[in-house]
Symmetry: C2
Subunit: 262 residues, 2 copies
DNA sequence: AGCGTATATTTCACTTATTGAAACCCGCTT
DNA sequence: AAGCGGGTTTCAATAAGTGAAATATACGCT
């Protein structure tokens, strides 16, 4: 009851994770890293291959398949928080010039960036959607851990990363004692640019934006999920994009010609 | 031997696909759509849940988990084609004002958008990364099916979608008869804007860009270099083992580009 | 309320399907 | 040649997954 685990599936998923982490690796490594016998790993990788979750390259190595990309993009498209927060991130970048992120708690006790906008300064912080970040010693972690800062935001200088300052505020659902932090919005900037004043200024903006996300223009808070079926204009970005400034395109419903069909 | 399938794993993956497609659905629907008994579906969904591949929302429905987003982003990051083609897509958008896409064949006999750039016209075509597109009646499909157009590009008006014209060119590897199409670059625009002349003009550009991708401006494929500011370090992704400091991403372009799925 | 339907969850006997050691088959290096 | 390391196949043991049925729960409907 408590633990209904299908060993086979679990193993296959671990294997998938290993392959995605590595980008490409031979069977032997995959088996070793996931603690499986070669024959078992081979069998599982083959079924993963048959379903498009992994594929093989010329050297025989295993690499992530397209199905992974596909499902990832779909999943991100269904994250309504992303579309809710997109304009907020845009605004923060505009106001501060620094990079802005949306993160949510992950299942393994860490957090994951779900959306991001790059800052406009030529020296700016850069990360990518899907990146996972620890909770210890980070502004995001503090908030997800339940911290409820006086002024509505937390600033951490040189926490996870040297020379980088993170300023974060929680998106909460519920009121009073029962409030729960469902996500965190943060602005991350090079520390050398952050004076106490600028931190305070950015903090005010972040806190204000974060607290307004679920309230909406009219006032009453709404549940964050509200997964509308249909095909919201999904978006997905490329984690590494040296040249192009804007990475995540937001759901621009304005006058785009259309989409759907499958 | 020929088909080594791990039924359990296959079922779980189907289930994962169903959940990602739906965005959110109750157990009963998931079971029905994947042709499983309720108890089996429940068991499998639970293990998917335990590993973060799905999660449950307040209504008890199942929805894609963060692990999916995470792996998807990672996988996309390892796709060297994406980084090679990114500047090309930028250029096409700049030249034509229309949306530009990179697609590759998928394992199930369709194609998937791996990257895209939105056009600049206020009325423009919009799709998303991860979207899968059929081969029949599409420009992309024709090229992946082996068609080798005279002028280097294929244009299809009102194919998959009404009022939309697609202009596509193949990225091939190998020469002469042994050339294989590994990906397709396409520009997609509202048909009303497409005169024979503009189609020809865009086609020329697309064909030129596509044929140059794997050749590179100076002969060998080069990566747009990684002048990423700050770090983005602190790769504390998983409490597992030391991971590569700066993610190798772009390192494997030359060899990795050589193949696609099976 | 009372009834009916539909879903969520648990149990459990039946085996089927997964497992890993060992054997085998490469291509390499010593 | 012999040795070595990775990939692949075989195969018997048995661990592990399966689904029907029972139970619990939740939601309309008259």
């Amino acid at each position: 009851m408590a633990e209904s685990s299908t060993r086979t599936v679990e193993r296959a998923l671990v294997l998938l994770g290993v392959v995605c982490d590595a980008g490409s690796l031979p069977l032997a490594d995959a088996a070793r890293e996931s603690g499986l016998s070669a024959s078992t790993a081979l069998r599982l990788l083959r079924t993963l291959e048959g379903t498009g979750f992994v594929r093989r390259d010329a050297d025989g190595g295993y690499r992530p398949g397209l199905r992974v990309v596909q499902l990832g993009a779909q999943a991100l498209g269904h994250e309504s928080l992303v579309s809710l927060v997109s304009p907020v991130l845009d605004r923060l970048v505009e106001l501060t010039g620094e990079s802005a992120y949306l993160s949510v708690p992950s299942h393994d006790g860490a957090a994951v960036y779900l959306a991001m906008r790059e800052g406009t300064h030529s020296v700016r912080h850069t990360s990518w959607v899907g990146r996972s970040i620890p909770l210890e010693g980070t502004a995001v972690g503090a908030l997800l851990g339940g911290e409820r800062p006086e002024k509505g935001f937390v600033a951490v200088r040189d926490g996870l990363q040297q020379d980088v300052t993170a300023i974060a505020a929680p998106i909460t659902v519920g009121h009073g004692e029962k409030a729960r932090v469902v996500a965190v919005i943060s602005v991350i900037a090079p520390s050398y640019r952050m004076t106490p004043d600028s931190v305070a200024g950015i903090g005010r903006h972040v806190a204000a934006e974060a607290s307004a996300v679920l309230v909406g223009p009219s006032g009453s808070p709404e549940e964050p999920d509200s997964t509308r079926q249909s095909d919201s204009t999904g978006q997905q970005d490329n984690p590494e994009q040296p040249r192009t400034p804007e990475q995540v395109r937001l759901a621009d419903t304005s006058t785009a010609v259309e989409e759907d069909i499958a």
